[in-house]
């Protein structure tokens, strides 16, 4: 047993850091550290910067443009990206539909879509959740009917993250209503410019616009946009959902936020002294730090075990990463709320191009919205209650 990274891994971390320092503009870095959302252009810029270096889809197989790094290097890479912080990759392309296409897609699909995902020429969004199908995703109702040489899709998707920018959407649609609900679902790629698609924004409690409703009204899609086999979409969806293991705990994001908590708590005061000198508050930070350290080790254990596991079989401990990781992301946003106290109140939604000076301390603006926004992390990607069901069944055998 050895916790230390090898010299090669340490050198690799330095290489990643040096690349970030050289290529990620300081202003963008500071903006993200202050809790602001990256714009569409920020995300595209960074993805293309990484792709130019050959790191755009680092975790993909080498033949499709991946790096061939082992799990430890992948982890180091992601952690450095989170801690920089850099604009996060658009997971819907690189971690979701990309792996589905290179694993189950046709050669034509691979050729058409994989380079565009790696370079973010095509912005993808996810068409899974529906108003009536959340945790019970297989209960989805959106239909795709084969009419001539087309699928005709009708229905509604929701919680479609960043769908307002999307060029493409991957859709789970019911193609056979006569069988068990999991067995009549297909996985279809849809061009967002197709007539009949309407995107409507959903404003979330932080005031932001991340998610959308997407309506399909007689949307005609070429038959060849089906991925893999008809009615096997549920298998591909499960593959997709189980695929994103490394980084699911978002340890780097929580680390970065703890750093920020300490910086801010050195400025803010309680009883006329810097808050960071308050023993009770320091101990609250320490509690989160301990849990985060434990989670980091748990994450490393999962990564180290990865090479021994069957390909494509997620470690059941991934559910631990999701549960604890989301709880700690939330705990860090709660601590930031406590740091800023009454100055969290002013509500100033981000207006692109606005030159209005901030009300109150500049760094205060994003804190309450982030706190509100991050409540999502224990809901999405399989809610924490679903994760507990998974542990109870798959791990404990209940």
């Amino acid at each position: 047993m050895e916790l230390r990274f090898t010299d090669e891994e340490v050198a690799f971390r330095k290489e990643v850091q040096a690349f970030i320092d050289a290529k990620l503009p300081r202003a963008l870095r500071e903006k993200l550290a202050a809790g602001h959302h990256p714009t569409r252009d920020d995300i595209v810029f960074w993805q293309r910067t990484l792709n130019e270096k050959g790191w755009g889809v680092a975790h993909w197989p080498v033949e499709y443009g991946g790096t061939g790094w082992d799990a430890v290097k992948q982890y180091i890479f992601l952690e450095e990206m989170m801690m920089a912080p850099a604009p996060p990759p658009l997971a819907f392309g690189t971690s979701m539909v990309g792996p589905v296409i290179y694993t189950f897609g046709s050669d034509a699909q691979k050729k058409r879509f994989l380079p565009g995902i790696a370079n973010l020429d095509d912005w993808w969004c996810q068409g899974f959740s529906e108003p009536g199908a959340g945790s019970d995703l297989a209960g989805l109702k959106t239909r795709a009917e084969k009419v001539g040489d087309h699928w005709v899709i009708n229905g509604q998707k929701t919680w479609t993250t960043l769908g307002q920018y999307a060029d493409w959407i991957f859709v789970l649609a019911r193609t056979d209503a006569s069988v068990k609900k999991q067995e009549g679902i297909s996985f279809i790629l849809v061009d967002m410019k197709t007539p009949g698609i309407t995107v409507k924004p959903i404003q979330t409690i932080d005031g932001g616009h991340e998610v959308n409703e997407v309506f399909f009204d007689d949307v005609k899609v070429p038959l060849e946009n089906l991925v893999g086999q008809e009615n096997k979409g549920w298998d591909y969806a499960k593959f997709l959902l189980g695929n994103e293991r490394t980084g699911i705990a978002r340890v780097g994001i929580s680390k970065q936020r703890i750093r920020r908590i300490k910086e801010m708590a050195a400025i803010e005061q309680r009883a006329g002294r810097p808050l960071i000198e308050d023993q009770r508050f320091r101990e609250k930070i320490a509690e989160v730090e301990v849990e985060l350290k434990a989670l980091e080790i748990t994450q490393l254990r999962v990564i180290a075990g990865e090479k021994k596991r069957e390909k494509g079989k997620p470690d059941p401990a991934s559910s631990v990463l999701k549960i604890k990781g989301s709880e700690l992301q939330q705990a860090t946003t709660e601590l930031l709320m406590e740091v800023i106290g009454p100055h969290s109140a002013p509500y100033a939604p981000e207006e692109p191009g606005s030159n209005e000076p901030p009300i109150g301390p500049e760094w205060a603006q994003t804190i309450a919205p982030t706190y509100f926004n991050v409540r999502k992390v224990s809901i999405y990607g399989g809610s924490n209650e679903i994760q507990k069901n998974i542990i109870a069944k798959a791990v404990l055998g209940l």
């Binding site: 990274f5 930070i285 080790i297 109870a392 404990l396 209940l398």
Partner: protein, 383 residues
Amino acid sequence: MDFDLSEEQQLLKDSVEGFLSDTYGFEERKKIAALPGGWSPEVWGTFAELGILGLPFAEEDGGFGGGAVETMLVFESFGKHLVLEPYLATVVLAGGVLKRAGSAEQKAAHIAAIAGGSSTYALATTERHSRYDLFDVTTTAKKDGGSWVLDGEKAVVVHGGTADHLVVSARTAGARRDKGGIGLFLVPADAAGLSRRSSPTQDGTHAAEVTLSGVRVDAVHVLGDPEGGLPVLEAVADEAIAALCAEAVGAMSELTDVTVDYLQQRKQFGINIGQFQALQHRAAEMFVALEQARSMAMFAAMTAATEDARERRALASAAKVQIGRSAKFIGQQGIQLHGGIGMTMEYKAGHYFKRLTMIDTLFGDADHHISEVADFGRLVAAA
């Protein structure tokens, strides 16, 4: 970075676990607990044969040169089987002082006795008002010619009642809470002026109140610098914390398993209660707490050799916090999910809970250590 055991480590784990699985079931443990002193000389003899009594000592001192990972493996099995023998007291605590501060002669005499299983030892540091501060020492040691004279009282000396020798911390200089001026003295249990009152503890082990009045200790039995004992004690405490974290993980893991088994068997309302989602989620939360604790027990073992003492102390503290928090949750929920049967002395779940509860009070509870982590201030290092 890897979490694999070496071949030797796997052999060690298998041999300890194999022996305990065969001979240290819950019913056997009850019989051992009822023996005078509360532990089995026969089991102790087997520990000596297995080589584990000499595990953490250097080969040139007659040991096996094991490190914190080896100790972790042994203690995880101890936790699983709720082992009662004075291993922590003898090998990790008193042995830990001896290997760090002992002279060549002291090591030759005593490490051989430990490794061979012929004597047991205990570490007497805690006092009525010291709580978890190893430097809070009122027991005095006064130089008198070629010897030291010890006076004072030590509390909850684990396995102090049956130990052949005690390692006692005593103030040789300075005021009650000074960090300097603490000496470590090796005192035979039958020394004139030393009296002991031993009793069982909540978890089925034994501990003693030790009174020292005018106990004369020859200067050759001082362990190390007579005023510089604290760094030694701190290093020993950190090693003990790592061991206790592993023991707690063994106990938590077993209690979680026992609880899940029970959920699968107990029927109410016509179905196994494990089918109720409220209970499934609680069991899942126990699993999460267990995995977090397991990670930190490994962390404690893997960072035990950290060179910088301040950092090493803080990392041990972090592990003890996680273990304390997880153990309380798993212990309490393990009882709750069992219902009434979990409350009975005859059933094993409660004994895991009790041991876990006592582990929290050894070498600092979670609240003690959280303030250490807070003072350290950089467990999650700023980039």
